[in-house]
Symmetry: C2
Subunit: 381 residues, 2 copies
């Protein structure tokens, strides 16, 4: 283990991949004949296999949730603040599994993978996915790993939707369900932001109907604008104001000066957009945001969330953040109310935070405390 | 007058244009050697010229604020709900002047006008503008119309910024200043939305560095995405939910169906974007949003809004809307607090509305009442 890694880190980790040759039936009626899942695990599976926890990722997440791939990595996995020895998802206690979902672009089968039928990248021909398809593929992964029952399925944002769907689709395979900064369905405003981001991608001339990889190009400008839109909505007005205010990066407000002014917030956003555009696949972005828009927990239960949650056997922890305006605390309270209506055990905390939707990824003492206490109470004997 | 126009309409109106050959010195230090302003007027200027009201428009506004250009017009001017006989800005009492600002694209000199020096459209070479430049050009218009003192200068959003700047730059020429859904400066989040919209335009391959007109093209896709971003932020989450919810325009949520789903909100937004892209100039959009970002009422007053407003001699009416998250009621209260600190007469109303920033354009009984009462109290003898 490296000299320089923090003591409460899971340390160096190596991603694993599993290839599945059993076809995966999809909600659309189509079939994914074979597929690969990239995953990482932290901690040790106990003899009774009763300490396994599944981490479901959000829009831009992946399997690298904690630790480091190399001692030289500048940053650990995306949820390293919450996964590790002594951390809320305590790897001294739990065997933690994090995967990259199908349809993604970090090693699992997705639009940028080769379509065996054509020998070319799937691109826009990759099957449309719904949240339940991710859950099915995660269940197939659990089977391979010999995990019959998850001690907990945990997710933030889109990950929370997967966790809830797990609790309804596989009630006997989930003992605890942790739903963070999520919702039973998106609002019209949320769909509107997603659609605007998609239009920015589709309008990029390098998008080429989604066949950019075949033409050795990428719709970077469109993806960058899409990420900028998303990024604004993940932060709170306060957090942006606190971090950047109206500070200038270049130029001057002085009268009599005819040069362009650039605010710090502008260059920051463009940097975020450009970085994302070089690392994320545009077709994955379209596919994942569509699944997010489609998700509606109670649709097939007569639009009755109480009826939906009546299927569940898990206990629930629901967490929201006070300044999250993309998945507001009201959405979490709707989940809590439906769970109570269905007579399910549910703990709920609305965490004070200035950091909007992004808060679910960031260190926060109260959030860590609530999260730790709940998971510490899970029986893994 | 047409058979079919409503009785409380100003009726058929004809836009006027005035050409100015007196150069306009700009805040940047540059000079606009000559320019044209398009304007409309409603009501009659009284003998003492004491009943003139100036309407300052917002980002996408123009000179056609009330009435109809033809009996066949489907829609009246953009603020027709508030300008007309018996309406809050009562044309039985006031002589109302509405103009298209320089830099705009509805007939006044702007980036799509011909640059006399080159014989080609100004395009990206049009001088950068600040809010004070609009105020200077509006003062030149007042001079031409023989109006020494406005009974009121009125504006919503960016128009409110112009009204406030009027009160500081020409304290003896403004008796009343009406500032609706506005702010003394934008927040970082607001700048972020504007910058994302600008990036969408600039990334459009038909933008061509702003010289699209010379190449007989338009950056329609970029402008459409820009408008979509703006449009979401002008509406409230509630208003979008109420109007569209998660209703589908096409496709089905049913499982086992592999066809694309389209939400109503998506097609609505794309329609808004496309319509705008065919009627608004991209360079004007960039220029106007930059002026919006730069605006900071108190910058040259040592960042002290009380010191800034100490210059003013006008009385003020400030109005905000409860669900406006782009120019929130908090921004209006900052204006009110600064005015009170400077011992100015100020009336303030926060109007309950579900319609976000757009509320300033829409009929609302309480808003109409407050607005009417205030303007009815203005002395025009």
């Amino acid at each position: 283990m490296s000299k320089s890694l923090p003591a409460d880190s899971v340390g160096l980790v190596t991603p694993q991949s599993i290839h599945f040759t059993e076809p995966l039936p999809l909600a659309s009626g189509r079939m994914l004949d074979s597929y690969t899942l990239m995953y990482e695990s932290y901690g040790e599976l106990n003899a009774s296999k009763s300490n396994a926890v599944l981490i479901c990722h959000a829009l831009s997440g992946h399997h690298h949730a904690a630790g480091y791939h190399s001692p030289d990595d500048r940053k650990p996995g995306w949820w390293d603040s919450y996964i590790g020895p002594g951390k809320p998802i305590d790897t001294n206690k739990f065997f933690v599994v994090a995967l990259n979902n199908i349809g993604g672009c970090h090693g699992s089968t997705g639009p940028s993978s080769i379509n065996p039928a054509t020998g070319k990248p799937w691109g826009p021909d990759f099957p449309k996915l719904r949240v339940r398809d991710w859950v099915s593929s995660q269940a197939a992964l659990a089977d391979k790993l010999g995990i019959d029952v998850w001690a907990a399925v945990i997710g933030g944002s889109l990950g929370g939707m997967q966790a809830m769907r797990w609790a309804l689709e596989y009630p006997d395979r989930v003992r605890h369900c942790v739903v963070i900064a999520s919702a039973m369905k998106l609002t019209a405003q949320n769909i509107a932001f997603n659609e605007t981001a998609r239009q920015a991608i589709i309008a990029d001339p390098n998008f080429l109907g989604g066949r950019y990889l075949e033409h050795n190009t990428l719709p970077r400008d469109g993806l960058s604008v899409a990420r900028m839109i998303g990024h604004i909505t993940y932060l709170s007005d306060y957090a942006m104001g606190k971090k950047f205010g109206r500070d200038l990066r270049s130029g001057s407000f002085e009268l009599g000066i005819d040069e362009p002014i650039e605010f710090q917030i502008e260059s920051y956003l463009r940097y975020q957009g450009d970085t994302f555009a070089n690392t994320f696949d545009a077709n994955s972005y379209l596919l994942i945001t569509k699944a997010l828009d489609y998700f509606d927990l109670a649709r097939e239960y007569n639009d009755d969330p109480v009826a939906a949650f009546s299927q569940a056997k898990a206990k629930f922890l629901v967490i929201s953040f006070s300044t999250d305006w993309r998945f507001s605390p009201e959405r979490s309270r709707e989940i809590v109310n439906a769970l109570m209506g269905a007579n399910k055990a549910v703990s709920y905390a609305d965490i004070e935070s200035n950091f909007g939707h992004d808060a679910f990824l960031l260190p926060n003492a109260r959030y860590q405390q609530v999260f730790s206490r709940y998971l510490a109470g899970i029986d893994t004997e």
